[in-house]
């Protein structure tokens, strides 16, 4: 139990003194996971809409794939990306392995299925009458998609948070493709695992607390947005 108290005081000390590059690590965590989430939204939302609204062969299989993708272990996603990006791999020439860019790629692979699944499920849950109504208003395809997405903004918000939550908390992929290099690819989760393996449990927990605080702050912003939308 002492450890938990120690962790809180250690977290406070880290934040006060900025020891161990804690602000650098926190900022890096935010930029990398933020980029991954954004990219995953750009890819995942259109696919999710297509899966919910379109009619084409193999649609159900694709939905099943996106559900299964939510259960993909991050370390496997990391390994797949690493095999591609290692110098011996087909994309080795790019020199991306052990860079933040590699982490963004691996994390996008993790978050995209989550966003596809949540988006498509949310849009499917919209009343069918609503969709017909939008169509009846004479909206063209692009405008139709836009209007549906706007009606589905609550699920889209949840999709964002789910995708962000999946990547901000993962450690396997970040370690494999990032290498946990100090000052380059070390993020809060990989730093926490490192401290844990060094036996510095207080510091490990402190880094976890800082991560939780960041996630909480972002969740509060999104929850406020959600609240406004519901009233609107």
């Amino acid at each position: 139990m002492d450890l938990i108290f120690d962790a809180f005081s250690e977290a406070w000390r880290l934040l006060r003194t900025g020891d161990g590059d804690v602000y650098g690590i926190a900022w890096r965590t935010l930029t990398i996971t933020g980029s991954s989430t954004l990219i995953s939204m750009l890819i995942g939302v259109p696919i999710g809409l297509l899966l919910a609204l379109g009619r084409f062969p193999g649609q159900r299989i694709l939905v099943a794939f996106s559900y299964a993708g939510m259960g993909m272990p991050p370390v496997v996603a990391g390994l797949v990306v690493a095999i591609l990006l290692w110098r011996s791999g087909p994309l080795g020439q790019l020199g991306l392995i052990y860079t933040p860019g590699a982490m963004v790629i691996a994390q996008s692979l993790i978050a995209t299925p989550v966003i596809v699944a949540v988006t498509s499920t949310g849009v499917m849950a919209l009343p069918p009458a609503l969709r017909l109504q939008i169509r009846a208003m004479g909206a063209g395809d692009a405008r139709y998609l836009w209007l549906v997405a706007r009606e589905a903004r609550l699920p889209l918000l949840v999709a964002t948070m789910a995708g962000f939550g999946a990547v901000v908390s993962e450690v396997g992929a970040s370690t494999v493709v990032g290498g946990n290099l100090a000052g380059e690819t070390r993020v809060l989760t990989t730093a926490s695992v490192l401290e844990m393996s060094k036996g510095n449990f207080g510091t490990a927990l402190a880094l976890g607390l800082i991560l939780l605080a960041i996630v909480f702050a972002i969740a509060v912003v999104l929850a406020a947005a959600l609240h406004r939308m519901r009233r609107a």
Binding site: W27, R28, L30, T31, I32, G34, S35, T37, L38, M41, W86, R87, S88, G92, Q93, G95, I97, Y98, T99, P100, G101, V104, R153, T160, G179, L181, E184, M196, S197, K198, G199, V221, L222, A224, A225, R228, M229, A232
Partner: protein
């Protein structure tokens, strides 16, 4: 409605800022690397640095976790302008990376596997750098009664006979290889699957923590034990056997086998480790904190 769109806009803007931040990060990192040779030149090193290359060093967890590389790498980077990416894995994984050309230079301690690696033509050169020793540590209960022994194989046999809990790295690292050799020296098979034998699959520090928790024994390199373990909870029990000798070699990966290796930088790094000033730093490392050297210079 208007409010909600403003908030979505804000959210999008926030994400965009984060994305730009990530790009900015990359730029500044590139800049740093770009300016590094200039600063190195400014500090007037005796030979003009030919560096500025990015080098991947695959090494064992012990050199990184003990903090030795945290001292050596900045010295090397300042002297040469090269940038070293240290990937700390077990010796087995490090050699895998070398075999595939995913690393430029290796710093490992698994002599038998290294000889196989060199015989297969995977390395250009292999040079001795330093040594430390393995020790057998365990919780103070010492169920197998091995404390104070000098014969490592006999100690392993006693642990097996009494079926005392033994915590193995189980990760194909250099330490794991040394442990397997000790079981063989005791005339035993590696007790994989035995109820008293646990494989952690993790680094040395994590394995020491688990050993203390499970009141068992483990084989560890002295450096990691000194640097991370509590000697009251996990005292040293057996040391000084010639079988416990732990030698580190630096291997330059064979550039003939793979394209795109930074072989010049790898050779520079290998030379750097063997230079007398570096060897002196290695010998001094840890003395201030532990009163003894963690690694003993042992150049070719």
């Amino acid at each position: 409605m208007r409010r909600s769109s403003i908030i979505s806009l804000l959210a999008a803007a926030l994400l965009a800022v984060l994305l730009l931040g990530a790009c900015g990060d990359d730029d500044s990192a590139a800049e740093e690397q770009g300016t590094a040779p200039a600063t190195a030149a400014a500090t007037a090193s005796p030979t003009p640095p030919a560096g500025g290359e990015e080098l991947i060093l695959a090494t064992t967890t012990s050199t990184d976790n003990s903090g030795l590389l945290g001292v050596l790498i900045p010295l090397y980077e300042r002297a040469t302008g090269d940038h070293v990416k240290v990937i700390a894995v077990g010796s087995g994984a490090a050699m895998q990376m070398g075999e595939r050309g995913d690393a430029d230079v290796l710093l490992v301690h698994s002599p038998k596997a290294e000889e196989t690696f060199m015989a297969a033509g995977n390395g250009e050169s292999r040079k001795r750098v330093m040594y430390n020793d393995f020790i057998i540590v365990g919780t103070p209960e010492d169920k197998a009664g091995i404390k104070g022994g000098k014969d490592a194989a006999a100690a392993m046999a006693a642990i097996a006979r009494t079926e005392s809990s033994f915590i193995s790295r189980g990760d194909n690292s250099g330490t794991n290889a040394a442990e397997k050799d000790l079981w063989a020296a005791a005339g035993l098979k590696v007790p994989t699957g035995a109820s008293w034998y646990t494989e952690t699959g993790q680094g040395m520090e994590a394995t020491l923590t688990i050993t203390a928790e499970r009141k068992g024994y483990t084989l560890t390199d002295r450096a990691t034990w000194l640097a991370t373990a509590d000697p009251k909870r996990l005292p040293l029990l057996v040391e000084g056997d010639a079988k416990l000798f732990n030698v580190y070699h630096v291997i330059v990966v064979n550039p003939a086998k793979h394209d795109g290796l930074h072989v010049k930088a790898a050779r520079r790094f290998s030379d750097f480790l063997l230079a007398s000033s570096t060897q002196k730093t290695i010998g001094e490392f840890g003395k201030d904190k532990f009163g003894v050297s963690l690694f003993i210079p042992y150049p070719d």
